[in-house]
């Protein structure tokens, strides 16, 4: 039943959140040393103007995860903090909190990733369906080899090439950042246009690669559904070929495509993180990159946890929509 299904999916989501928090807590402790404490002490020894901040951070860290407390108490207090998305201060950017830094970067990532994923999924599915359509124009067959080749390339690699060709050689588009250095953020036409111009290249490097993947998968599914008995039956009934194509083949091929989208979100995100790094795009990926450089453990953990939770949520939403697409799911009891 529908409610069962949703309840089970919500259960899985809670499980994912719990596992993410647990990994975040235990993995750094597995290595024997405490990298957070080491980093904090290093920073404290360097001294300088951040010294007082470091002292406060060490005190706070000790209060929460002090060695005098048993492991399970530390673990519980970590879980409580994680549930409130409280990840302490950023070591490299004291006195800024980790969740402030994340909140600033998230809109950029969601904007870039949301647009490109929707665009490539829609475009790829459409192209893939067309490729399998007997009535498609002949030249479309020549699209296949480049789509295949592009699909095998990592996003960021194409990004590097695009920067060189379109930003460095012919200087058509900006090569770096989310908006021009002197631009004043605000809701006006100049700024929005500036942001869009900066987003084109990173978006292109994701869309060009991802579209090929979706098109290939969709074409494969279309070929399979076209061989099904119900399609032969529909042909025998004398239905119009367009009706057969849309209502019988396409409708069924869309289902596995949507499931694949839910599964692929993680990979797309991993790829997009690197694209952001290459372009210096002010999203989560770039913040993560700098955090890794600075050994900023609180920030790294905060980002990883937030992203896993956000992705779990996106998958949950997709799964909740899925029964609307596939009426069979309502009747399935497991």
């Amino acid at each position: 039943m529908r409610v069962d299904y949703l309840a089970r999916r919500c259960g899985v989501f809670v499980l994912i959140v719990w596992i993410a928090a647990t990994l975040n807590f235990f993995l750094p402790r597995l290595s024997g040393q405490d990298p957070v404490r080491t980093k904090l002490l290093q920073q404290a020894q360097l001294g300088g103007y951040v010294h007082s901040g470091i002292d406060a951070m060490v005190k706070d860290y000790d209060r929460r995860f002090g060695l005098d407390r048993p492991l399970w108490q530390q673990y519980l207090s970590y879980l409580r903090d994680a549930a409130r998305l409280d990840f302490n201060y950023s070591i490299a950017n004291y006195p800024r909190k980790v969740n402030e830094l994340i909140a600033e970067a998230v809109p950029w990532t969601i904007g870039l990733l949301g647009t490109t994923t929707l665009l490539s999924f829609g475009l790829g599915t459409f192209l893939g369906a067309l490729l399998a359509w007997p009535g498609a124009p002949r030249w479309m067959r020549y699209l296949m080899p480049p789509l295949w080749a592009l699909h095998a390339i990592p996003f960021f690699l194409l990004g590097l090439v695009l920067i060189y060709l379109l930003a460095f050689q012919i200087q058509l588009l900006p090569m770096f950042g989310g908006y021009s250095a002197g631009a004043f953020p605000g809701l006006n036409v100049t700024f929005v246009w500036d942001v869009i111009r900066h987003a084109i290249l990173p978006a292109m490097s994701i869309v060009l690669v991802a579209t090929g993947g979706w098109a290939l998968a969709m074409r494969g599914m279309m070929v399979t559904t076209q061989g099904e008995d119900y399609v032969t039956f529909a042909e025998a009934k004398g239905l119009r070929s367009l009706t057969i194509f849309v209502r019988y083949c396409l409708r069924n091929a869309i289902l596995p495509q949507t499931t694949a989208l839910a599964l692929a979100l993680g990979n797309i995100l991993s790829g997009a993180v690197l694209v952001e790094v290459i372009f210096g795009y002010p999203g989560i990926g770039t913040v993560l990159f700098h955090a890794i450089r600075e050994n900023d453990h609180f920030l790294i953990q905060g980002i990883v946890f937030t992203v896993i939770v956000a992705l779990g949520l996106a998958t949950l939403i997709l799964d909740a929509i899925y029964p609307l697409l596939d009426p069979r799911i309502n009747y399935r009891r497991t």
């Binding site: 990994l23 990298p35 095998a152 599964l263 979100l265 991993s270 896993i308």
Partner: protein
């Protein structure tokens, strides 16, 4: 015989393209090791930032590495990470997939649950947490182990699905009725039929592992003093070679990475064709 082979080659062009691409790469590395002094891949062994010339055919980077030597030394390292992680992943994954699909029940629920959850989590980020926690001058092999820690998820899922469909086939039923034990059936009946699938899965896993390792390296979590392809890209990004117009620095690693991924991709497509002959009709 030769005629039949030629006809098969024409039908399965992807397999040939994949093998040729990877063969060229092997040739480059093999001949390179004979001709080029790989010691030049260390910093300060050549003048800094020279465009390609007779002395340095691929140019040199800012820290004074000869890029040809770096590519010759680094390509096998990157492939090594991919192969170690890929083999481990497919080995562990297919055992879990077999057990899960063959015995069903509670074991299956647990394994499937872990795999399903593991696959929705962005792998690179989990690897980042692992790498950050362990970081104390990683070596290439440690890098491979880190990548392998997630590389078994996909193989486990693929193999499970295949075995599930196979265990209902007639010949498995016959084997069971004739008194074969579970492990015996897995090894003698299922395994041979699965081999082409496993080969395709392996190539996929190697490709995914290389991608993950390059990702970690570009973020600065790689083996910092090894000249792998990913580390070269890290230095490219670190020194802003793109903006400075040092095109030769990133051209070589990008071309080699492209050849690696395209070669592996066409190899999988070709192997898929062998594993799943029904595709022949479609393409």
């Amino acid at each position: 015989m030769a005629h039949a082979a030629w006809r098969y080659v024409r039908r399965n062009l992807s397999l040939v393209v994949g093998i040729v691409l990877l063969g060229l790469l092997a040739l480059f590395v093999g001949i390179g090791h004979l001709v080029v002094d790989t010691g030049k891949s260390r910093p300060l062994s050549a003048p800094a930032i020279r465009p390609p010339s007779a002395d340095h055919p691929f140019g040199t980077d800012r820290q004074g590495r000869d890029l040809l030597a770096t590519m010759v030394a680094g390509t096998p390292l990157t492939l090594r990470i991919g192969f170690i992680a890929g083999f481990l992943g497919v080995g562990i994954g297919s055992i879990l997939g077999f057990v899960s699909a063959y015995y069903r029940g509670a074991v299956d629920s647990v394994i499937r649950g872990i795999v399903d959850i593991g696959l929705t989590v962005p792998g690179l980020l989990v690897l980042i947490i692992i790498a950050v926690s362990l970081r104390k001058g990683l070596t290439v092999d440690q890098m491979a182990l880190i990548v392998a820690s997630l590389a078994w998820l996909n193989p486990a899922r693929t193999v499970r699905a295949q075995v599930l469909s196979m265990r209902e086939r007639g010949y498995v039923e016959v084997a069971r009725l004739s008194g074969m034990s579970g492990p015996e059936i897995i090894v003698k009946e299922l395994m041979p039929n699965l081999l082409p699938y496993l080969a395709a899965t392996l190539v996929n896993a190697v490709s995914a592992a290389i991608l993950a390792s390059i990702g970690l390296e570009v973020l600065g979590l790689g083996p910092i003093d090894s000249p792998t392809l990913g580390m070269t890209l890290y230095w490219v990004n670190f020194n802003a070679a793109l903006i400075n117009g040092w095109w030769w620095w990133w051209l070589a690693p990008i071309v080699i990475i492209l050849v690696v991924f395209l070669g592996l991709f066409f190899l999988t497509v070709g192997l898929d064709e062998i594993a799943n002959p029904r595709l022949r009709r479609a393409i």
